[in-house]
C-alpha cells in the first residue's frame, strides 16, 4: 500500500510535532514506560493547565463571551492527561469533550483552543465549529463531533490506514459511560477487534451522562468487562490516579503498537461539574460529590509529588501563576479578534482543487 497523501491546505500528517505553551508533549521516557521526574512534573503541569484553562472558559461563559455551551472535564484531568501521555510521536488522538488536557499533551496550544471556544476568525475551524471540535492533521488530533461515539468508526479508519501502510502508530479514543451505549461504539469495537486495528478505547466512567446516573445506563459491574464480548483486554483503573491511568494506557498502547489489536481501559472518576456550565447538577447527591471531592485528581497527585519531593509549594505557586497569566493573555488576545466575516459562511462545503 503506497503512502501518498491527499492534497490539503495543511501539510500531510507529520506526527507528534509539539507546540503550545505547556512544554513538550512527551518528555523523554524510559523504554519500559517508567516515568522520570520530568515526566511526573509534565503530567502535573498538563493537569493543572487543563483545570486552569477550563476555569477560565467557565468564567468567560458567565461573562457571556463563550459562543454556545461550556463543557469542562473537572474530575477528568488524570484520565485525559494520563491516557494521552501514554502516546508517542506519530500517534493519533481522538479526544472527547472531557479531554482538554489530552489536546495539550499532544501539543495543541492554549491560543488555538481559546480561539475555538470563542469562535474567532483564525480558529482551527474558522469559526465553523467550537470547543474541541477540530481536526489538526499536523498534530494528528481528530476532535470529537457532538454525536457521541461518531468518531470511533473514523478512528477505525485511521487505524486501518496505519495497518495497511504497515506503520507503527496507535489511535487512542474515548467515550463516556453514557456514550458507550451508542451503536457506532460497538460497531467500531467489532471492526477493530476483528481486524486487529491499533486502537485504544478509554471509557470515561464519570458516574453520570448528563442527568442520568450509570445505574440507568448499564447493569454490568465494570464497563471494561464489555471487552470480553470482543475478545480483547479490558481493564478498569482508578481515574483519579494519573499514574494508574498512564500505566494501564501504556500497556494498551504497547499492545496496539505490536499490532495485537484494540483494548479497553475504563477509567472511573466523577464529573465534578454539571454537564455543562448551564447545569448546576441538582440531581447529584451532595454526599456523592463530597466523597469524590476528597479524591480530586490534581490534589491527589500533588500529594504524591510533594511526598516524593518532586514538587514544592513554591514550584506549585509559580506554575499556577505562569499558566494563569498565559491563559489570561491568550483569552485577551482572542477576545480582541473579530468573528469570521458573514460572507465566509457559504465557503468550503466542498473541497475545490486549484484549477489544473
Amino acid at each position: 500500500m503506497a503512502t501518498r497523501v491527499t492534497t490539503n491546505k495543511k501539510s500531510p500528517p507529520a506526527g507528534g510535532r509539539t507546540r503550545g505553551s505547556a512544554g513538550p508533549a512527551a518528555a523523554a521516557r524510559t523504554p519500559n514506560g517508567s516515568l522520570a521526574k520530568s515526566d511526573l512534573l509534565a503530567l502535573y503541569r498538563y493537569m493543572v493547565l487543563m483545570r486552569e484553562f477550563e476555569d477560565t472558559i467557565i468564567r468567560l461563559y458567565t461573562q457571556g463571551k463563550i459562543v454556545g455551551g461550556a463543557y469542562t472535564g473537572n474530575g477528568n484531568e488524570a484520565t485525559a492527561v494520563g491516557s494521552a501521555y501514554a502516546l508517542s510521536d506519530g500517534d493519533y488522538l481522538f479526544p472527547m469533550h472531557r479531554d482538554m488536557g489530552a489536546h495539550f499533551v499532544r501539543g495543541q496550544s492554549v491560543d488555538n483552543l481559546m480561539l475555538m471556544h470563542l469562535a474567532r476568525k483564525g480558529s482551527l475551524t474558522e469559526g465553523r465549529d467550537g470547543t474541541g471540535h477540530y481536526t489538526d492533521r499536523d498534530l494528528r488530533i481528530f476532535g470529537n463531533i457532538s454525536h457521541l461515539g461518531a468518531m470511533l468508526p473514523v478512528a477505525c479508519g485511521i487505524g486501518l490506514a496505519v495497518k495497511l501502510r504497515k506503520e507503527r502508530n496507535v489511535v487512542m479514543t474515548y467515550i463516556g459511560d453514557g456514550g458507550s451505549n451508542v451503536g457506532e461504539v460497538h460497531e467500531s469495537l467489532a471492526m477493530a477487534s476483528a481486524m486487529r486495528l491499533p486502537l485504544v478505547l478509554v471509557i470515561e466512567n464519570n458516574q453520570y451522562a448528563y442527568s442520568t446516573p450509570v445505574s440507568r445506563q448499564f447493569i454490568v459491574e465494570r464497563l471494561s468487562s464489555r471487552a470480553a464480548g470482543y475478545g480483547i483486554p479490558g481493564k478498569t483503573v482508578d481515574g483519579t490516579d494519573v499514574l494508574a491511568v498512564y500505566h494501564a494506557c501504556r500497556e494498551a498502547v504497547a499492545r496496539a503498537r505490536a499490532m495485537r489489536g484494540p483494548s479497553i481501559v475504563e477509567s472511573v472518576t466523577m464529573r465534578m461539574h454539571g454537564h455543562a456550565a448551564h447545569d448546576n447538577a441538582w440531581y447529584v447527591p451532595p454526599k456523592e460529590l463530597a466523597a469524590w471531592k476528597r479524591k480530586d485528581p490534581i490534589a491527589r497527585f500533588e500529594k504524591v509529588l510533594t511526598g516524593k519531593g518532586v514538587l514544592t509549594a513554591a514550584m506549585k505557586k509559580q506554575l499556577v501563576a505562569e499558566l494563569r497569566s498565559g491563559i489570561e493573555k491568550s483569552a485577551a488576545a482572542a477576545l480582541d479578534l473579530p468573528y469570521p466575516p458573514a460572507e465566509d459562511a457559504l465557503r468550503g462545503v466542498f473541497f475545490e482543487p486549484p484549477a489544473r
Partner: protein, 324 residues
Amino acid sequence: MAMLTYIEAINEGLRDEMRLDPTVFLLGEDIGAYGGAFKATKGLLEEFGADRVIDTVLAEGAIIGAATGSALAGLKPVAEMQFSDFVSNGFNQLVNVTAKYHYRNFIPVPMVVRLPSGGGIRGGPFHSANTEAWFFHTPGLKLVAPSTPYDAKGLIRAAIREPNPVLYFEYKYLYRHIKSEVPDGDYEVPIGAADIKRTGSDITVITYGTGVHWSLEAAETLSREGVEVEVLDLRTLMPFDRKAVLSSVEKTGKVLIVHEANLTGGVGAELSAFIGAEAFRHLDAPVRRLASPDTPVPYAPPLEDAFLPNAQKTAEALRSLAAY
C-alpha cells in the same frame, strides 16, 4: 471497445482505477472472494489482494466511518453497501461526520460509497430502496447515478478521482439488463455534467438511473405519435447540471421529471422548483413529475409492478403533457 453489461462496467472502472492509483482500495461486506452480493467486485481480490479488497464486519456505520478515516489518512476508499437500503445504518456517519468534514476542517475526504439501488428485482421493502433524496438534502456530499455502462464506468472513475465524498447510486435492475460499447482506455464522465440521451423539440424529460430507459422507450412511442421528446439524463444529482436543464427547458417549454424514488420531497421536487424559479417564462405547461408513490416498495409482483414507474406510465404522462 468492449460490449459490457452495466455491472461489468462498474467492475472494470474499479479495476482500472486500482491499477492506476495504489491508494485506491475497496471495503465492504462479502466483496472479496465472494465478489460482492451482485459480483461487482468479482476478480478484484485475486488481482489486488486482501489489503486492497477488504471484507469487513457487518456494520455499515463502521464501514462508512472507516472509509472516512482512511480517506482522512490519505487513502482513497470505495465502500460498498450490500444494498442501498442498508446505508440507513451508516446514515449518521455520512450526514454528520463525512459530509461536514471539509466545511468544518478544510480537509478533503476523497471517498466513494457505492449503493446498489432500486426495485424491479422483487426485493420487497428492504432491498429495493432509492435513497438519494436523503442525501440530496445533505450539504457536503456529491451524488451520481449512472444509467448506462459507459456512464457507469466513466462515473466510477470520476468518483474515485474526486476529492470529495461521492455517493454512487447504481441500479440493480440495470446490472445485467443492459449492455453497451465501453471504451477500453482511460476516460471519465465528469461529475456535474448531464447528458442528452435523445434530442427532441417538444417535451423535455429530466431523469436519471432506471428512469432514463423508461423515458427513452416512451420517447420512441411518442415519436411515432408525432411528439419529439428530449431525454436529459442528469447523471449527477448533486451538483446537478443547471445549465443543461435550463437550456433544454428553454428549447421545449414542457418538462416531465421521471424518477424511481418516491415522489414527495424527491430530487424531482427540487428540479421542479428550480425550473419554476429560473425558467418560468419559457414554460408552456406546469412542470410534471412521474415517480413511485409514497409507499414502501411492496413485494408481491402485481403490487411492485403497480408501484414502479415504467415506459407505459411515462408515455401516458408525456401524452398528457403534449396535449396541455
